[in-house]
């Protein structure tokens, strides 16, 4: 309003413009200078102050910015007569938002709207504030006021959306929908509707109340013409009819859709579902619905009589045949796949045997077998076949392999499909080692033979037959799993690196390599490959599962820190900006997107990976600073001593978790983050569940336990540091009962999470430390048990309750932890082979023990030492205290001795591997590929690839491919692996040495006591 008169916030615009220009060009100092001048002329202008606050905030001076903002706010409130313009308010709003004080912005707008009740601009600003705060009820009230004021359709819809949000994302009961319906009805009666999105919202309100008839009436009435794309309208109509139970009419509608778009698979599924009166496809989607639904199409058939089923199916068949007949280009897959779906339903109903379905699949192959999507198209149909029938289908399919297309690219596609179908059916796991080797060789040969087809392709285009090398890798990894012959594993790596030499963009190879390198403890290489995938923005939520779990237990702290920081930044940025985008959808009248955006934000906020990262990021910081207790304490302080994380742990049980990771691209041997088949013995597997299902309890447990750590570390440090200062002065009673009680409660919880009562858990660790049940009782929770032992000792230092609980004598807690850590770590180190000989093994576990429980134990020691040290300010201690300190220092000395000894042995083991000559290690890798001359064992595939490519013919392969082939060097790959492993070993060694150094320093300090 003010700008109408050339004023901005009451100040002439020409004076304000240079400030904005300077802000836009990020010249903040200059902007501040001009603002200061402006303020000297308009010292009481809230707008000038708001500008100053904005600049200060941009300069990173948050406290000053907030102060100035509050000043501006105060002036605004005082300013009885002058303007209360949106420009000032929105500027303040920006700053308050950036300072995380949305409530202050809201109160400014609330005040302004109170003063100028009929100002639409201000009301919109207020509405926007409530959108940012997700205050759906207040949004609704404000929108209604605006609607009443000007009667515009959009404000009514804003109110209706706010009501819908209360029901879908808030605590609003479904009765509210009736109110929304009433509002819309009244408006339609007097003004009709003018926006297609308004109609969609109206229909969804009715649909949510199961008023399908009313919704249909509106859709087919005059308002229906708002939807200009016929298919969109038909889709809504079909859904409403089906949900109303009018399946015959719904089937007709879907038939119409198929007549318009014969390739619409979903429409066909609905069509068939409606014919068969099956409502299973209309189940409600909720926030934690899996991102990738199971491939199997759910259907209900039992309610149908034979006759009804027959008649429905014959109608469907006739229609599908008609679609097939009308299809002239021969490229539409839908009508043929539809035929398969009908055969599947017939089979499930018991109307036909497997043979018809198999026949259908064979026909589909003859038509579309050359397409890369063949296997994913037919996956759901193959799943219903019994294992024998699957094999029968495969046999029949393989007979086709002699009748390949005359077009070379098609023939190659068909051959690849045959191989992929074998993989899909699990046949690869039935083959003998010899057969597998032969199959891998055959694929490699096929790859080489068809390389000339890609001669003229642009280097950025996918090459023909690229998938073959992925399948070869899968087979070689299986051979490794079966035989434990490292050669196969190295060969799998080589084959993929060979493929990347020819074309460096194949992300499928990169993902496989990433997992192979991770398994080979060359995590730095795995991370390189991950980075080359350019995973950013939303892909961090769906794709980072490939690397994050391995990094969390690795010594590559700097890389992990970046990974976590980037991911958390992305998520937090989205949460911050999401509301603004929701408001954008409101403004552009795309109401259905409003609901979608809010629901999506909820989904991401409940992401299990986000919660894990939020817990792991501070734990990483704690790991990084564990050798320096002062640094650790300042980190703990910044984490509010872990209190918020304990709250998270308390809440996690009842929190909805979403699983947004996309596991489709994971390799067969690790289909989910929790599973790695290669770590166990060989077993025949025919199906690798790549779904997120069933992970929930596991993830919940991890978050629940891990989020207790910061607090337990904090309390342990406290417990160890207060212990001798005043202990005897209070005559043997607890020095700090609060710490002790809380730590005990958390220990009880920790034990419970491990499945035990506190007493029983103590028995388990005591037993393990005495070698009664060496570590078997810990199962896969070794780290948690060791953590438990460490915190138990810390608690005992203060409470001395351990002996009462039947555990140990006063300093027995130290002995308990020392022996557990020593036995476990040394047991592992002494039995582990060098990494270059044996992938994975216990290396990640070793890293985790040294950087977690051992590090926390180190902190307890540091805390004890600190409190033992004489300090000038303290009173001279009494004789009994001296005695107690001296007894404790013995215990601490022993602990330091034990940890140092253990870490020194680990460091030596690491150093030996780092120092081992590179040539020797490379030789180890290369020799694992040397063939034994009997036409078996690893190395054959690589040999074949290299032989066929040894003298590339440029005219056949083209310049680019030939050149790439000439640059191929397996020795370079071997060197890369060696270097990669060395990086990881060196990082771990550095961590161990730093701990040794810090422990030695403590020992020296203690010697002075």
């Amino acid at each position: 309003m003010a700008s109408k008169f050339g004023l901005a916030g009451g100040i002439p615009e020409r004076r304000v413009r240079p400030i904005w220009d300077a802000i836009d060009s990020r010249q903040f100092k200059n902007a501040l200078k001009i603002t200061t001048t402006l303020l000297s002329k308009h010292p009481h202008s809230p707008y000038a102050l708001a500008l100053k606050a904005l600049i200060l905030e941009r300069m990173g001076k948050s406290d000053e910015a907030l102060f100035v903002c509050l000043n501006a706010k105060e002036l605004l409130y005082k300013n009885e007569s002058l303007l209360m313009d949106d420009l000032t308010l929105s500027t303040l709003q920006i700053v308050f938002q950036r300072l995380d004080h949305l409530e202050l912005a809201t109160s400014c707008y609330e005040h302004a709207c109170g003063k100028f009740p009929n100002n639409l601009e201000l009301m919109m600003g207020l509405f926007n504030c409530y959108v940012r705060e997700y205050s759906f009820v207040k949004q609704q009230q404000t929108a209604i006021k605006m609607y009443k004021l000007v009667g515009e359709e959009r404000f009514l819809l804003w109110a209706v959306c706010s009501i819908q949000l209360q029901v879908l994302c808030g605590n609003g009961g479904e009765k509210l929908l009736l109110l929304a319906e009433g509002l819309l009805k009244k408006h339609v009666a007097s003004h009709s509707l003018h926006e297609p999105e308004a109609l969609i919202v109206y229909i969804s309100i009715l649909e949510q109340q199961a008023k399908f008839g009313d919704a249909l009436e509106i859709l087919t009435g005059k308002l229906g013409s708002l939807l200009m794309i016929e298919v969109d309208k038909l889709r809504i109509q079909g859904k409403l009819l089906a949900r109303a139970g009018d399946y015959a009419a719904a089937a007709n509608v879907y038939q119409k859709i198929l007549e318009l778009c014969a390739d619409d698979w979903e429409a066909f599924l609905h069509y068939l579902g409606c014919l068969l009166e099956d409502d299973s496809s209309w189940s409600k989607e909720n926030i934690n619905a899996p991102i990738h639904p199971t491939k199997f199409v759910e259907c209900k058939l039992t309610h149908l009589t034979d006759e009804v089923f027959d008649s429905c199916v014959s109608n469907a068949s006739a229609f599908v045949q008609k679609l097939q007949g009308e299809e002239s280009s021969n490229s539409l897959r839908n009508p043929y796949l539809a035929h398969l779906e009908i055969e599947r339903r017939k089979y499930l109903f018991g109307k036909n045997n497997h043979d018809d379905l198999i026949e259908g699949l064979l026909q589909y192959y003859s038509r579309f077998g050359h397409l890369a999507c063949f296997t994913s198209d037919v996956e759901a149909f193959i799943q219903v076949l019994s294992p024998e029938k699957k094999m029968e289908f495969l046999d029949k399919l393989m007979k086709n392999s002699n009748a390949l297309s005359a077009v070379p690219t098609k023939a190659l596609g068909q051959s690849i499909t045959l191989l992929k179908t074998q993989e899909l059916i699990g046949n690869m796991f039935r083959l003998s080692v010899g057969e597998l080797e032969a199959s891998a060789l055959q694929m490699a040969e096929l790859y080489c033979k068809n390389l000339p087809l890609s001669k003229d392709l642009d280097p950025q285009e996918s090459m023909h037959g690229e998938e073959l090398l992925s399948i070869v890798c899968n087979v070689l990894v299986q051979l490794f799993w079966r035989t434990r012959n490292l050669g196969y594993f190295v060969e799998a790596v080589m084959v993929l690196e060979f493929g990347l030499t020819i074309r460096r963009y194949v992300w499928q190879y990169k993902i496989l390599l990433l997992h192979l390198y991770s398994h080979f403890c060359a995590l730095s290489l795995a991370y390189e490959r991950y980075k080359s995938l350019d995973v950013k923005n939303i892909l961090m939520e769906t794709v980072s599962h490939h690397i994050l779990p391995q990094m969390l237990v690795s010594p590559l702290w700097a890389d992990l820190s970046n990974l976590l920081k980037d991911y958390l930044k992305f998520m937090d940025d989205h949460f911050r900006e999401s509301a603004d985008l929701t408001f954008l959808a409101y403004r552009h009248r795309n109401y259905s997107k409003v609901i979608e955006f809010v629901q999506f934000k909820d989904r991401l906020q409940h992401s299990n990976q986000y919660l894990v990262a939020r817990v792991e990021a501070p734990i990483l910081q704690l790991k990084q600073s564990a050798d320096n207790i002062e640094e650790e304490e300042s980190i703990l302080e910044s984490l509010k001593c872990g209190i918020d994380f304990v709250e998270l742990s308390n809440e996690i049980g009842s929190k909805v978790l979403t699983f947004n990771e996309d596991f489709q691209s994971r390799p067969w041997w690790t289909p989910t983050t929790e599973k790695n088949y290669l770590l166990g013995p060989f077993e025949g597997i025919s199906y690798y569940p790549k779904e997120n299902l069933g992970r929930e309890a596991n993830v919940r447990g991890t978050i629940e336990r891990k989020s207790l750590l910061p607090r337990m570390i904090y309390l342990s440090i406290q417990s160890a540091s207060v212990l001798h200062k005043d202990n005897s002065e209070i005559n043997g009673s607890l020095a700090d009962p609060k710490t002790s009680t809380e730590l005990r409660t958390l220990l009880e919880r920790y034990a419970k999470l491990l499945g035990f009562s506190l007493n029983d858990a103590i028995d388990v660790v005591v037993g393990a430390s005495r070698g009664l049940n060496p570590f078997q009782a810990f199962g896969s929770d070794v780290i948690d048990w060791l953590n438990f032992a460490v915190f138990l000792n810390a608690w005992n230092l203060n409470s001395h309750e351990l002996e009462q609980l039947g555990g140990e004598c006063m300093h027995g807690g130290w002995h308990l932890v020392n022996s557990l850590l020593e036995n476990y770590i040394l047991g592992k180190v002494r039995s582990m082979e060098p990494l270059i000989h044996s992938p994975q093994g216990d290396f990640p576990m070793l890293v985790q023990i040294a950087t977690e429980p051992l590090a926390w134990h180190g902190l307890v020691i540091q805390s004890c030492v600190r409190s033992c040290l004489p300090s000038g300010k303290k009173k001279k201690k009494s004789g009994s205290v001296d005695q107690s300190i001296s007894s404790l220092s013995y215990a601490i000395r022993d602990a330091i001795q034990s940890l140092c000894g253990t870490l020194e042995e680990v460091a030596k083991w690491l150093q030996d591997q780092i120092n081992s000559p590179e040539d020797k290690k490379m030789d180890n890798l290369v020799s694992s590929l040397q063939r034994n001359g009997q036409g078996e064992g690893p190395g054959q595939v690589l040999h074949l690839l290299e032989t066929l490519m040894s003298s590339p013919n440029e005219t056949v392969l083209g310049n680019r491919i030939s050149e790439a082939l000439r640059s191929w060097s397996p020795v370079d790959v071997a060197r890369k692996i060696v270097t990669g492993q060395c990086t990881v070993l060196s990082e771990f060694c550095r961590i161990c040495k730093s701990k040794i150094k810090s422990l030695r320093a403590l020992k020296q300090q203690l010697a002075q006591v």
């Binding site: 796949l337 992300w507 979608e596």
Partner: protein
């Protein structure tokens, strides 16, 4: 086998197999969501069996007066579903919406100068078009082309070509 429907937020969680392709850019969230909030009709996804994402197109309608036009911001197809003319189908849809709903005058796109496969595809696509069936259409095309000729330096620092895909409606007086 292809259900083409409006893109929704949850699709962002499912398009990894498409976006891992090195020529497909994964934009920041506000970029996608701004398109969804402003031009939901121009953001479509093609879905195959098992609700697998085959590819998607995002675009917008913009411009003043005679340059009111549809714009293809991104179009991409997963490797598994390439060579089935899916990109073309998606483009046709966007042209249809530009034409019928928004009465745009033409549809264009920018393509990275380094993305030779895409440039070849668009060239083929453009060559096959019948420009409104008459010479006048060709002239119109030329004038649009000359206006937007050369290379564009975009914010994301890629050199881009502008390609006018189709001319949809007549502009009086040209």
């Amino acid at each position: 086998m292809t259900t083409i429907r409006r893109f929704c937020c949850n699709d962002l969680l499912r398009f990894a197999s498409v976006n891992l392709d090195h020529l497909t850019e994964t934009f920041n969230m506000s970029f996608y969501m701004t398109y969804l909030a402003r031009w939901p009709d121009y953001f479509h996804v093609a879905e195959g069996p098992g609700k697998r994402i085959m590819g998607y197109i995002m675009g917008k309608v913009e411009g003043q007066g005679e340059s009111w036009h549809g714009h293809v911001t991104a179009v991409t197809v997963a490797p598994e579903y390439r060579r089935q003319q899916l990109a073309k189908k998606l483009m046709n849809l966007l042209e249809d919406i530009s034409d019928k709903i928004d009465k745009a005058y033409f549809v264009d796109l920018f393509v990275r100068a380094s993305n030779t496969p895409a440039i070849k595809m668009y060239e083929k696509m453009v060559a096959k078009r019948k420009w409104l069936g008459c010479q006048f259409g060709r002239e119109l095309l030329t004038s649009y082309k000359s206006a937007a000729d050369g290379q564009f330096y975009l914010e994301n620092s890629f050199f881009c070509h502008q390609i006018i895909l189709t001319v949809l409606n007549w502009i009086e007086g040209i």
